[in-house]
Amino acid sequence: MKSAVIVFPGSNCDRDLAVAFEAATGSKPEMIWHRDTDLPDDIDLIGVPGGFSYGDYLRSGAMAARSPVMQAVARAADRGAFVLGICNGFQVLTESGLLPGALLRNAGGHFVCRDVALTVENAQSAFTSLYDAGEAITYPVAHHDGNYFADDATLDRLEGEGRVALRYAESVNGSARNIAGILNDAGNVLGMMPHPERVIEAAHGKTDGQRLFKGIVEGLLAKA
């Protein structure tokens, strides 16, 4: 199983995500620099990490979404590779059009950095299959621009098609319909503001994120 983590200037969760990928897949992911124009043809899983790519210039994720490597990520997603965007990675995926909507400044205006209660809305997806539908879990968040926005028609479609993977179970950032994570229509791209890679080891204090990464591996094995 081949995985990769994209590294932009200003990414700061890339190594944490690499540790999570390695723990789940059993092999080290390739770290791919943003200027690279190609990914390995047989790549199974791509992580777009959190951080402050390009210093959040213009809009969070805007510059990273137009970097050369994102065209390769889009091609890999088209082929069916799994793409997981976390925090700034979610912003990059919406800015690049791989996921609908946009992430606005938090409604309260503050950077929010704490554990938050979440509900697993869709436990059928390739990313969330090891959770129970409606399960209450806790992941940390750390973001300024996590207020998910889309027009009502898009929100209705996301909900109707089971593409809301995770919802906040408490007030966090003003997100439309408390959306914390969404899937693309094919179900192989997940973007989410909370950080599962920060809760995978006993030493982290919580391990709620572990099953996300194990679930991805099971999903990939089932697909193969």
């Binding site: 137009r66 919406t94 400044r105 409604a107």
Partner: protein, 77 residues
């Protein structure tokens, strides 16, 4: 040739920055500020003859996120 691109949040999109500015103005004693919306001004210094289509494409492809923002182009001689 220069162009100024004004990027503003669409109506209905929450603007916490604008709201904070409004509160600060009220704190300074300026009453009667009903609402504040903050946006961006991007100035482009362009080669002569750059087409309107190209400037518009720059806005759509990068300068504005049309999911949440509107843009207005003002060409300056």
């Amino acid at each position: 040739m220069k162009a100024r691109i004004f990027v503003t949040l669409k109506g209905g999109v929450l603007d916490p920055q604008g709201r904070a500015i409004q509160h600060a103005l009220s704190g300074l004693g300026f009453d009667g500020v009903n609402d504040v919306r903050a946006g961006k001004l991007i100035e482009l210094d362009l080669a002569d003859g750059t087409s309107d289509e190209d400037i518009d494409a720059m806005c759509r492809k990068l300068l504005a996120n049309t999911v949440i923002e509107n843009y207005r182009i003002e060409k300056v001689a």
